[in-house]
Subunit: 188 residues, 2 copies
């Protein structure tokens, strides 16, 4: 793997997803924080714990990158399915997708689920993590065209994330995690 | 993590699963090869490719273990589900289980699937891999009480792996991969 080395003093958001970068850049702007994009795929370990997975990825990256950087990982956890798809949400989305999840949930009365996001930040010395969580339920059918991934089946206060459009970004797990992170950075 | 250092010259099978160790020990015996058990959990990367995942785990382990060792990983790949559960078979088994897979397969006419096993062997210098594959279909219901994991829903020539008992071990993906590995070792 080849890693870039950035300008000294800058802070990088490492993600291959341009939509994610732009969403986070807007949140950073609200806190007067400047972030740069480093488009890079990095290794992720298997495991049950999203925080541990992100921490370990940041540790691996920190051996190659000298600048400050952060990464973000998130997952959908469905109570009746023992947390599935959890840390493997993107693989599960790519394979069985929203329709697969709805099929697995047929006949389930407990439809509780949550989205969780983890930010892992390397400050040049150690890794810090910040989490955000939003509770909701799994809908009975796909609804809405906004967002991405499992948004059309994740219902929050009567609407799915896909039906909420930009409003989703005000209440999302990702927003909560990044708000914690940027407020912490500002306090320092 | 703490790693054991074994007797010089011995070869270790690293697995936390005693049933797997015993099954492989029997195959090794048929080839007059002696193996030792090193019960150790090791990191596995996320990814679509079982071979790459096993290779990388072996590389990571090789930085900590001086002796020759091998690991084995396997997965169930279902064609109609784009390969799901694939590399995440054990997580998927722990969460949605056989019943979840049968639910996902309801109404599917294409029931083709295969089990794949990968052995990654570190010879003290580099990592070699050996694979085994067995084709079958996903049954319409759970059948049989032998084996473990997805064996009760994997049908091979009219019977599920769980119905085949010891006979399964003569035709399994694991047997094929280890036969290749041990024959290669013997030829060297």
């Amino acid at each position: 793997m080849v890693y870039l080395v950035g300008r000294r003093g800058s802070m990088y958001f490492i993600t291959t997803n341009p939509g994610k970068f732009n969403e986070v850049k807007r949140i950073a702007n609200e806190h007067n924080i400047e972030i740069n994009w480093l488009k890079l795929k990095y290794p992720e370990l298997q495991g049950d714990d999203l925080v541990e997975i992100a921490k370990e990825s940041a540790r691996i990256l920190s051996t190659k990158i000298r600048d400050k950087f952060f990464i973000e990982d998130s997952g959908l956890f469905i109570e009746a399915l023992k947390g599935f798809p959890g840390p493997y949400s993107s693989y599960v989305f790519k394979t069985i997708g929203n329709k697969g999840i709805l099929k697995l949930m047929e006949g389930q009365t407990n439809r509780s689920a949550y989205f969780k996001a983890v930010v892992a930040y390397f400050d040049g010395d150690q890794v810090h993590t910040f989490t955000g969580k939003v509770n909701g339920t799994i809908s009975r059918e796909l609804r809405g065209f906004g967002g991405f991934g499992f948004d059309p089946i994740f219902e929050y206060k009567g609407r799915t994330f896909a039906e909420m459009g930009e409003e989703k970004n005000k209440v999302s797990h990702r927003r909560i995690a990044f708000k914690k992170f940027f407020e912490w950075l500002t306090r320092k």
